[in-house]
Symmetry: C2
Subunit: 269 residues, 2 copies
């Protein structure tokens, strides 16, 4: 049986550069699909394109309009292929309207001098010692992830008591388990609650307008991580007149940086 | 007389969506133009497009191939215009080949609840108390900026003695002075020395493959800042098999976040 995530990002080739996909129930958000599943489907169009060369280095998805539940079409064009890098351009359409644009860079990586600079938090209890956060009353996509917060760091109820910061960190993996790959890593880059909900502990309509993922992991590092929990950490820098940012890192359980991610998010008030 | 930065990003409309531009001497890099000037020229195609609505929220430029000194052509298409947001798609061509692709989100901002979350460093001496860093032997574009490092934080000579980190911070403004706007802010987002040069204190061939700028400032905040120095801070998270990242913030001299920026950079060895 196919894993629900593979169903969510499954694409059928229509022409050389155009693929058909469809939203699925397990990755539904409050309205329309979870953005992580959409950006993973877009990346998947390049990953399964016959002309793909190398593995993803960066992906930027701009969400141009609401996506409804149902079918969509992704056009994926390898705009320029060099000796070691490949540049992609994407459009996601639904009912003849562009709902998202995206670009990606792929590369053939070679072994070079490598070094970490940032380090994962050292005081996070291991995933095995924590329990899965409840998802009752939350959008369906949250049930497609097993998220484990340190006991004192569980998201608190929406009582409107402003917090001083919106930092959060938790272990997360696909539910049911699934070996990590570039598509699921792209989706994980968006698996955070909106920072403004945490900061203000209250709800306001929001929508990501631009999401960038940087892939620090190569295929070998993803294979090492397999289907175990990864550590996800996120924060915001600033909220100003309708837009805030979010930066996040996804760490392997051996402390390697797998991905970093940055987004700008609209908020109504 | 036109400011050299305005000359560097000047565009002549050719058709509805196509503009001609050219690299200039004051923004030359070691080979070809400084990437910040190129991304500012791309943004400028939207800023001066008759259909532009609102101000920039995000800009992502993917550098697909080397740009030579000389003329280039930028295609700027408003892919989708909503009530409050506008989505742009760009291609920069030279001699019939795509040298860069880009996307941007513009928005009409409204006044909402706003708050900082990150804060600028509190121990940076004011720009007026520091002297301009020397640029002898460096690419021409560095002379188009007035950069002021704290005395103990001047970039150190390339003696190959590895540093523990590649953090840096300095005051910077256009040289000669020029009131800050969205285009010059986009360019400032790329005015950092490559993190790997700082970390390893040695040279290796590098090239940015993807650069994202988030604009936290609106036009009013830029007008307040005018032509005074802004504070630029940058760091890296990780270097792995040919690619490292850089994240940066640009702060006003009153401590407001003007822009944040993220890039992935190729390095040869």
């Amino acid at each position: 049986m196919q894993h629900p995530f593979d169903t969510a990002i499954a694409l059928t080739p229509i022409t050389e550069h155009v693929f058909n996909g469809a939203t699925t129930g397990p990755y539904a958000n409050m309205i329309g699909p979870f953005g992580g599943a959409t950006s993973a489907a877009i990346l998947n169009a390049a990953l399964q394109h016959p002309q793909a060369q190398g593995s993803p280095i960066s992906l930027t998805v701009n969400f141009a309009g609401p996506l409804a539940d149902g079918e969509f079409e992704i056009k994926a064009i390898p705009i320029r292929t060099n000796r070691s890098t490949q540049h992609w351009s994407f459009e996601l359409q639904q009912d003849g309207q562009i709902a998202a644009t995206a670009t990606a860079v792929f590369a053939l990586r070679r072994e070079t001098w490598s070094a970490p600079e940032a380090m994962p938090p050292s005081d996070m209890p291991p995933a095995q010692s924590l329990t899965r956060a409840p998802t009752a009353g939350m959008p369906a996509w949250t049930q497609s992830y097993d998220m484990r917060f340190a006991p004192s760091e569980l998201p608190s109820p929406f009582d409107g008591q402003m917090q001083a910061h919106a930092n959060s960190r938790f272990w997360v993996r696909d539910e049911p388990t699934r070996p990590l790959d570039f598509a699921s890593l792209a989706s994980l880059c968006d698996c955070f609650f909106p920072r403004i909900f945490l900061r203000r502990r209250s709800f306001t309509p929001i929508g990501t307008v631009s999401l960038t993922c940087f892939f620090h992991a190569d295929a070998a590092l993803l294979a090492e991580q397999s289907d175990r929990h990864v550590l996800a950490c996120a924060r915001a820098l600033n909220y100003r007149n309708g837009y805030f940012d979010q930066s996040a890192e996804i760490w392997s359980d051996s402390g390697q940086l797998l991905a970093s991610s940055h987004q700008m998010v609209y908020y109504r008030e």
